[in-house]
Amino acid sequence: MAKILNVSNLGKTYTSGSKTLTVLEDITFDVEEGATFAIVGPSGSGKTTLLGLCAGLDRPDSGTVTLCGTEINALNEDERALLRNRNVGFIFQNFQLLPTLTALENVIVPLELQGVKNAGVIGRELLHKVGLADRLQHYPSQLSGGEQQRVALARAFSNKPSILFADEPTGNLDEETGDKVVQLLFELNKDAGTTLIIVTHDTDLAQRTERILKLKGGKMITNQQTQIL
């Protein structure tokens, strides 16, 4: 199967005053199209930094990231934004909905950016799918955490992404709500055939993916297949 993400010798350091902190060091892995993939590790191990680099939200100091066949190191901010808009979906721990937009408007932003005409219809369908058909005109602050994350799920799938990055998708939710959201995430993912990359602390959640990459202190410890297969 074709590789949708290829990470090669990736490194990232941060400088604060005269101190240099290496956050990621020599990370190499790839992800096949349509696969589910988890990045796990303790706090401060570099998981979120790795996710940001893979999605083109940040630039590495060394190594390369090839996303959907494009080496993103060479792209400028706007080219990377366009790549994300066409191919990438996101889910964040703290939902990251735009507070001034209604649920429906939040979902259709990626479609509108592409200039899709019937964005409203698609948005309604997606919100219906995630069980929020009666919450279309609600603002994020009028929704519960679980509802907000479901709106985020609908938004993540709205542009039919090839790859979806989820950063601690259940981190801000109680267990029951978290389980429901995860269930929904995997269902939607299966329907759409999207590649899914999850960053998580939750080993149970990680076990539901096909491969797990373990990080510690910015270094890759293992990259193994899970039992699920």
Binding site: L57, A81, N85, F92, P99, P110, E112
Partner: protein
Amino acid sequence: MSGNNQHNKPKGATAWLFKMAWRDGRASLNRLLLFMASIILGIAALVSIQSFGNNLKKNFKEQSKSLMGSDFLIVANQPPTERVQHIIDSLGGSDAEEINFPSMASFSNKGATKLVLVRGIKGGFPFYGELETKPVTAAAEYQDMGGALVDATLMLQFGLQAGDSIKVGQLALPILGAVTSGPGSTGISASVAPPVFIPYRLIDSTGLVQIGSRVEYKNYFVANPEPNYVQLAKNLDAVLDAEHADLDTHESTGRQLGRRYDNFGKFLNLVAFIALLLGCVGIASSVHIYIKEKLASVAVLKCLGASRKQSFLIFLIQIGGMGLVGGIIGSAIGLLLQQAFPVLLQEFLPIELTVSLSWQPLVIGPLLGFVMSVLFALTPLLGTYYVSPLQVLRIQEGTSSKVRRAGLYVMAVILLLLFAFSFWLLNNVRFALGFVVGILVVFSVLTGIAVLFMRAIKRFFPAQWGFVARQSLLNLYRPNNQTLVLLLAIGVGTFLISTLYFSKDILLAKTAMEGSARTPNLILLDVQTNQISDAANSIRDNDLPVIDNIPIVTMRVERIKGRDVNDIRQDTTSTINRWILNHEFRVTYRDSLIATETLASGVWNPKFEAGGTVPISISDNIARDAQVTEGDTLVFNVQGVLMKTIVSSIRAVDWGRMQMNFSVIFPTGVLENAPQFHVLSTKVPDDKTSARLQRELVQKFPTVSIIDIRQLLRLVEGILDKISWVINFMAFFSILTGIIVLIGSVRNSKYQRIKESVLLRTLGAKSNQILRITAFEYLYLGLLGSGMGLVLSLIGSQLLAIFVFKAVFVPSWGPFLILVPGITLLVLLIGMANSRSVLNSPPLQVLRKEGQ
């Protein structure tokens, strides 16, 4: 990049930007409305004043002919000389003639007297405009019937009716009607000496045209077709000047009158500009805090695939749109306001003011609303361009060097635009530059103080203080603090408001009257030398003091530094001020300086000992305009006799004080025998004594003019009251803008503090503690901001007083007693109102509600 990712702009991309701007703005409407209010007020002030100024200019231009009553005229202080008569004849002869002079008039049946301007008219004057009388027929009949037309206000004042009689000098004649309006018969001078029109042929019978009288001879012309006035003036000026006569055209009269109202207009323009600038401060501070909170959303948008340009444009459209709408509403309010100005100002204007819509402010208002909003919002807006999508995952503190560099460019553009705009309003490079540099200095000083203040608190932090006091101090310098932006907004706001207040003080104080025991209030003009002792005795017989007895000799300048004034007139490269060459100087002689004078340089000569050149003293403005200094020579023509003088001293004179001041003073021992008249003054206790003395003096000395300063004072006070009303009204506009700006800035800062307050609340802080933490923070900011603004304004006003208004500045207590506590209280109250929602609702509810 792969082919499918090539950038191609989707259809409707621009429409989407507008849609997003609207969606986002809709949810933040409350905050954006406050921001729009500052624009609306600033633009309303600017548009109303600009439109009024334009209308005034237009009216002066349109009505210049009716102001003069003819196309042009030749005027002199003596009957036309042979050469002047020759010119008059060559122009086809005049169409009307006038002889006028000030004189005391008495109204036989009332026993009252009043200084009037007697205008003897021959011919169909006025040819433009109308001599409006009551009854209407009086204007056409008075010349044939040998009657007088008397100023309507004067008639009302003295209870006169048509049919009563008026006595001017030796001539008594019936009053045929009241003049309600006529060319050049409004304004302050008409109130001091109201016009009385009589037939020209009766002037001689008054017996008042004698040597030493101040008489003006006018020849009016109607030109058809109108000549090229510039060419006409060029042909005639030199000859007429040499004969001490002048050519006035309706164009120049309109211009001159228009110019007289220019200073007033300039001050109002400045006020409007300050109002607009305050609006801009409002924009900058509101948008700064507003955009700071939007950065997280912008990062999300970028994550979802919005480009830098798109996310920047969404907010640019939002802010620009608010500016444009604010500009349109402001212009509409401004145009409504300008309708009120003619009602307020009609009394000071010599013309009928008609208000018409002019397109300029209608275009400029919305345009300025848009440009100012965008420009002053640009620095914070740049943040949306440079914010990284990574912020979605982690908060990045600090400003990137790119933002700082772009901010500097924006600052340069703002300064350039401010300069261009103030130059457009003030029409003076020096003032415009001073204004921009002043604003820059104020901003820099306030920024410096804010930074020092934060460092000082950090360094000398009182760790032993209680929890509440420590928290409120911490708020001033820890991350997410609002110290700099609020200190700037409060400081600049206070600075502008109090500078306006102080300038008003300076302007009004300059015209204020002093009323000490030695200040005369009845002045006798044109007292001939042989009348002095009799006149003085008359005053003393009424138990009144003779306060001043000032001799006056009239003369003109003949040569400056050895050069003939005729040569200087023809020398186009000469920069000597023209008025010096044509002016008839009223000169006095005395042996000492008076209270309103100080010696700026040179030596004061009390007495002239025979032999050598006469040492004189001149005022600093003459030295400047005639370009002479100590040791330079001036030759004066003293009624036919040439007299060589040398400048021995230069005096600074306070012209604003109610005192007879002179630009040229001779020492004693020179002019005692020259033809001269005197000014006597006294102080009368009440109206009754004044009327009795005036009656007596007019009977004894018909050529003497008397001015009752108390009447004049009442008149000037009335006018000052109205001017201060207009100034206060405009200042109020600026202050209102300032307050709206403060409310906007402080209200917007609510969102900075709310999460922290809720967190404290969650951790168990009592209402009282949260309230006190907030109150102290805003108290510090309010006190420091307004205090610094006031101190800077004191310095600024002192500079304004010295360089612009040329007056002494004694600050009034108003700003100290009202502004600083008032603004601090305002900041404190809004700050405390900000935390009200935190105190009254459960923490979670607050977070959800404010998150919207």
